[in-house]
Structures are given as structure tokens and as C-alpha cells.
């Protein structure tokens, strides 16, 4: 897997758990304790699968996505939202097309790993499949 993973969560325990999970698999992972740090990583050139918490202080997950899109940093990334809620709130309206998948806490680490690996394979394929429309 060439692509990297970023865990964006203000909860240190979650960040470290996910970091260990992916490092054990030999997958490169970076951590961000909030939306602003996530944006810093992206501005610095990170591209890969983002696992992002919704509820974070200062810049929450939805507003972080809005910033990612507004700054032109979305291309080459896949965003998975990590949340304690089974159903998303209305703040997701208008940006759902940028949220490829949704993981509910508590999550099964192996299911998360499989999901991220699958999405990473999609990112690894850089050849355009078809011109459209």
C-alpha cells in the first residue's frame, strides 16, 4: 500500500490505538489532534485516506472538510468519518459527497483496517479510467 493514512481525532487514546493498528500492518500513518493540524498536513503534501472524528474542538470534522474543499486540498484523498453517533447530524448536508464512508465508534479495528486498505487501493490507481462526460 503506497498511500498513507491520517487519523484526525482530539482523543489521544483513539489516535494512538489507530496509529499502532496501522503501524503493525506496516502502513504509514500520521496523526492530527484537530482539524487545523489536519489542514497543515494536507498543505504540506499529505495525500491518502483520512480517518476523521466529527466532534472536535475549534474546527470540527464537517468544517475541516469544508476547509479542505475550499482550499483545493481534496483531490487525491478519501475521507472516512469517525463518530460516536449512528446517524449524522444536519451539518453534513452539502458535503456528503466528500464523505466516502462513515465509521461508528466503538469500531472493530480489523473492519476499519480492511475498509482503509480497500479505499487505499482506489487511491493507488492513478490512471484515469474514462473521460467524462
Amino acid at each position: 500500500m503506497d498511500n498513507r493514512v491520517m487519523i484526525v481525532d482530539d482523543n489521544e487514546f483513539i489516535r494512538e490505538s489507530v496509529e499502532i493498528l496501522f503501524q503493525t500492518e506496516g502502513i504509514r500513518i500520521v496523526t492530527a489532534e484537530g482539524g487545523n493540524k489536519c489542514l497543515d498536513h494536507l498543505e504540506a503534501g499529505f495525500r491518502g485516506v483520512l480517518i476523521m472524528d466529527v466532534m472536535m474542538p475549534q474546527l470540527d470534522g464537517w468544517d475541516t472538510i469544508r476547509q479542505i474543499v475550499a482550499r483545493g486540498l481534496y483531490d487525491g484523498n478519501i475521507i472516512l468519518m469517525l463518530t460516536a453517533k449512528r446517524e449524522p447530524d444536519d451539518n453534513m448536508a452539502g458535503i456528503q459527497q466528500y464523505v466516502t464512508d462513515y465509521v461508528t465508534k466503538p469500531f472493530n479495528p480489523f473492519e476499519l483496517l480492511d475498509m482503509v486498505k480497500y479505499y487505499a487501493t482506489l487511491l493507488n490507481d492513478s490512471e484515469h479510467y474514462h473521460d467524462s462526460p
Partner: protein
Amino acid sequence: MIPHNIVIIGVSTGGPIALRRLFADLPPLNAAIIVVLHIPQGMDYRIAKGLDAVSSMPVALAVNGEYLRAGHVYIAPGGYHLMLEGNHRIVMVEGERVNFVQPSVDLAMKSISRPLKGKIVGVVLTGMGKDGAEGIQHIKAIGGITMAQDQDSCAIFGMPKAAAETGVVDFVLSPEKMGKKLASILS
């Protein structure tokens, strides 16, 4: 040859994996299959290629003006609304977002007319919001068969719930069972 049967699938967040589960064991169908996924430009072709890797039928991004063929899967590209002309030709339409999204499931489904012969199947899979609820009512109104993904298998039980709450959904199923149902209807 113009396909008489059409399957139209609307899906959003959680869609790539739900689609992979649906198509993994699905045999070739005697139908053209349209997938309207809420996805931005740049990601759409990646999703198409990922689905093509597991599907028994060829999967490609839909192209403006293209004629549908049975046994082919067409993914609506991001940034346009996809509509069908005469139930057999794909038309891409620019314009405002509908239900906060583009492509819109409702617009795509509502562009299908009552067929002279053949079957129309409308499917709503995982996703936030209610896009597809009006569309699935239209599919039912023109004599189609309707399906929605069940709550347990959904990443987000928003769109399928809204579709089911219209009261016109014939089957509420997991993606795997949906695949078997489609095969029994259209093989």
C-alpha cells in the same frame, strides 16, 4: 440492442463498499445498470475501476450521449446530473445541486418513463439525507420494482429510510440479498 430492462441504483456515503458487496456475486444481468453515487469529480473514475474489479459486468463512467447496453454498468460522473432520454440514452446535465448533491438520484430516477416492455428496478442504498425518496416513488408509479438497503448493513440509514418511509418499497434487503433478488428478477 436497446435494453428493455433498467436497474437504477442511488447511493451516497458508504456507497463504494455497499456496491462492492452488491456486485461481488452478482451474475451478468439482462439489464443496463445505472449507479448514481454522490461523489466528486476525480473520485468517480476510481470508484468505477474498483467496482469493475469485482463485477461480472463491465463498469465504466457514463458518457454524455451514450446509448445503454444490457449487461453494462454505468457510473454517473461527479459534477453533473445524469438523466435518461427515452430510457436508452444517457444525458449529462449541468445545473444547480438537488438535495445538496450532484448527481441527484431523484433527478435520474424521475427521468425514466414507463417502459413499453421490460422491467425497471429502482434501488436506494446507504447514504445521508433523502435523495432517492421522490425517485423511488416515481419508479413505483411507472410500474417498477423498488428496493432499499436494510438498516443493519448501512453505513448511514438515511436515504434508504426515507425511501422506505414513502411506503412504496417492495424489498428491504442487505446488498448480498439484493443481488440475489436482482438475479432472480433479471437473469
